[in-house]
Amino acid sequence: MLSKPDTARKGNLVAAAGMALAILGTIFLYESEGAKLHNYGWIFAGLLIGSVIGVMAAKKVKMTAMPEMVSMFNGMGGACAALISIIEFGHLAGDSGSAGAAAMMNLHRAGEMMEQLGSSSREFIEQRELIQSMFRVDYRGTLLIILLGLIIGSVSFAGSVIAWGKLNGRVKDFAFPAQHIVNLIVLGIIVILAAALLIHVNDVYPLWAHGGGRATGFSLLFYGVLVLSLIYGVLFVLPIGGADMPVVISLLNSFTGVAAAFGGFLYDNPVMLTGGILVGSAGTILTILMCKAMNRSLKNVLIGSFGGSKAGAAAGKEQGAYKEISLPDAAVVLAYANKVMIVPGYGLAVAQAQHVCHELEKLLEEKGVEVKYAIHPVAGRMPGHMNVLLAEADVSYDKLLEMEEANAELPTTDAVLVLGANDVVNPAAKTDATSPIYGMPILEVENAKVVIVNKRSMKPGYAGIENDLFFQPKTSMLFGDAKQVLQQLVAEIKQV
């Protein structure tokens, strides 16, 4: 149902209803070894508090801040998965301390006593072995699932929080030398610790009830994995540039899905499993699609530190002359064009200019100008970010052209208005093999007759590279905040 905008909302409601059903079903019908769940008070209190926070947060957030919100929610899901793993680890320890282990311990002592008495009968030894084998539970499977849930959940949580901070502008890009080596080392340690836990679990658990150094060390190791996973989550997202953020969020999203699926394995719960894997696979495909749209390999994004400093310095020398255009001139150009293509970017989102933009579009249409929007797949901070923003402003979605369609129409377009977009219209992606964005599909706005670029300044875009487009003769710059510029432009066009 999500395949069409019209039915998507219904699909979402159906999904929400399904989720409600699953939750209620779990609360009232779940039975484990004949015992129903208890602690209803706590559960409902938790549900209530969570719902209130969730609704408040979701209702209050501005459309432009959507990516942050999604990443925050994602982090919560990841944290939830990690917490479940922590509690289950405690349970595992508790379980082994109970009946089975106690029986084995008693048996062991009985055996020792009999040996001391020198009357160890063969029958007893056989019986003992039989009982021991009955009680010998293999904890490795369960622990593996718990560990995977823990690692993925906490990486997802820490990563999402950093992603949220970065999108908010609270956390700056941060990379230190040899960062990916450090990342790999941290990851390696996590794997080694987890493997150590798995190898020793069967030796340690039968002794758990009696405590002692080994059991404590074992717990410490487990929390070590937790801490390292959190650190890895932070390190992993920190160096990733803003342009890659959508990919990261989508990736973390699929991580959380996988963590949820491990929860499903843990409880033999098909709902969690299906939901989790569905999100995991969907998220992964979405991530790959986005990577393709930006022409980055996933590995490239993961190992990280793209763009920023290095590229910016290298491209600085090419700065040429650009020309500015005055508002009245821009208004004239737009009003007398036959076909205008608007290319929105993050600048539009920051300035909250989507409504004015729609106003401009209507005004131009009244004057007989054909107006279309060219949407680059990764314009803004999230795929489809621009679509959502423009939809908020009531722009009809058949006016929104995807990149291929837009590129086909651009040669016949009279004027292109670039609103706060930069890297997605940078011709260097096609021409300059040394450019970090080389090979990324772009909107070929330079094929249009005139290009008007609205930007706040000449600063390079998120990829940190200079844009040749701005120095081309057919390009004119219109500096200022997208919203103010558009408002003035609307006023000017009314006078034309």
Partner: protein, 105 residues
């Protein structure tokens, strides 16, 4: 190796579910136009909130005296609910915008 095959036999249904879900996920995504990728992402985000069920089970199983488990479980339930409810509400808000415009036309 033997343990592995036992594990697989015990969970064969689960494994079927996993494989089918993977295909379903791929199928779903490839049908969605990129216009809807943001709502899709946030929808998927809400769906993986199913971890909430795990949190509820954990809570429900915790002994009344085990305050650490209760506290962590309580936190997990809250976080999970925020994920689910927030996710769906945000998705709905986004999609609502797509809808309004259709009605006007």
């Amino acid at each position: 190796m033997e343990q592995l095959s036992v594990f697989i036999q015990q969970h064969i249904e689960m494994i079927y579910v996993v494989i089918l879900s993977i295909f379903l996920g791929i199928e779903v995504i490839s049908r969605v136009p990129s216009v809807l990728h943001t709502p899709l992402m946030s929808g998927a985000n809400a769906i993986h909130g199913v971890v909430i069920i795990g949190a509820i089970i954990v809570m429900g199983k915790a002994e009344a005296g085990n305050y650490l488990a209760l506290l962590l479980g309580f936190l997990a339930v809250i976080l999970g609910t925020v994920n689910v409810v927030g996710g769906f509400v945000v998705t709905d808000r986004m999609l609502e915008m797509f809808k309004n415009k259709k009605d006007k036309k």
